[in-house]
Symmetry: C2
Subunit: 158 residues, 2 copies
């Protein structure tokens, strides 16, 4: 990858917003946020970040790669679980500081807790409770995380 430099510089607002050259902006940590949706259902599966290598690997291979902030390494999504995300379409936003991946998921699961989507709970609007009570939108897990991940550390941080 070291020899491939496919990103353009960012020279003007007009070029970034209206131009045809890929000129992504990484934040001060070197990350660009990514939202990943199921290409068929439109459901949001997960949000993550890429660093430059993860973006290049995703473009090069067609498999979604992220930067794992909990493990601090390049993350080929599904390498452990088998739930590889094949990219059907990649989009970039107006100021080129966010990525949208539309993917097909082998095994139909994307969440380390065992659900299809990471977004398996909804937040009621206009609640006057404190604390607010969530509702589960997925009630059945599609896989057993203990079977799939064994005793690998849980990435959730408090």
């Amino acid at each position: 990858m070291a020899d491939w430099h496919p990103f353009a510089g960012r020279t003007s607002v007009e070029q970034v917003e209206e131009g045809k050259l890929l000129a992504p902006k990484f934040d001060t940590n070197g990350f660009i946020p990514v939202v990943t949706t199921d290409a068929e259902t439109g459901e949001v599966l997960m949000m993550g970040v890429m660093n430059e290598d993860a973006l290049l690997e995703t473009i090069r291979t067609g498999d979604a790669h992220y930067w794992s902030r909990s493990r601090k390494c390049l993350w080929h999504k599904g390498a452990t679980s088998g739930f590889i995300q094949k990219v059907v379409e990649m989009r970039i936003d107006d100021d080129q500081d966010a990525i949208w991946l539309r993917v097909a998921v082998e095994g139909s699961a994307s969440c380390h807790v065992g659900y299809r989507s990471c977004f398996y709970r909804s937040v009621p609007l206009d609640s006057d409770k404190a604390p607010i009570e969530l509702s589960f939108t997925e009630t059945v897990k599609v896989f057993d995380p203990v079977e799939v991940y064994g005793d690998a550390p849980n990435p959730t941080q408090l």
Copy 2:
């Protein structure tokens, strides 16, 4: 809002992932990332961030509120343009550090450049060009940004 404290503390991974209490995690800048999709089409319209006030105002009013990083203020989306986002459903992810809003947009536009979605360009996969050339997925603007925003500063930063 100062008297309403509807967020639970984060006491264990199990409580955060499997529990029913809203216990959002804001990053070191006080932000939580948000992805917003069109409730009808599933299209990703934009990505942004909320601070605690923006999340509370969104829950309280049912209109999407964000934190504007370019203007450094609470941002009632559509207050200037008229393109208010009515929240149809709000979801939170497994470790409660990301929000998904499904919205209905008055006026069907969400992008300050004039397009329906901020993600109006796709990135080809398996390209060997350098720099990579984007394709426009929306070719016609749905509004004229100069008419709508006048001479307000463009939020895009290089």
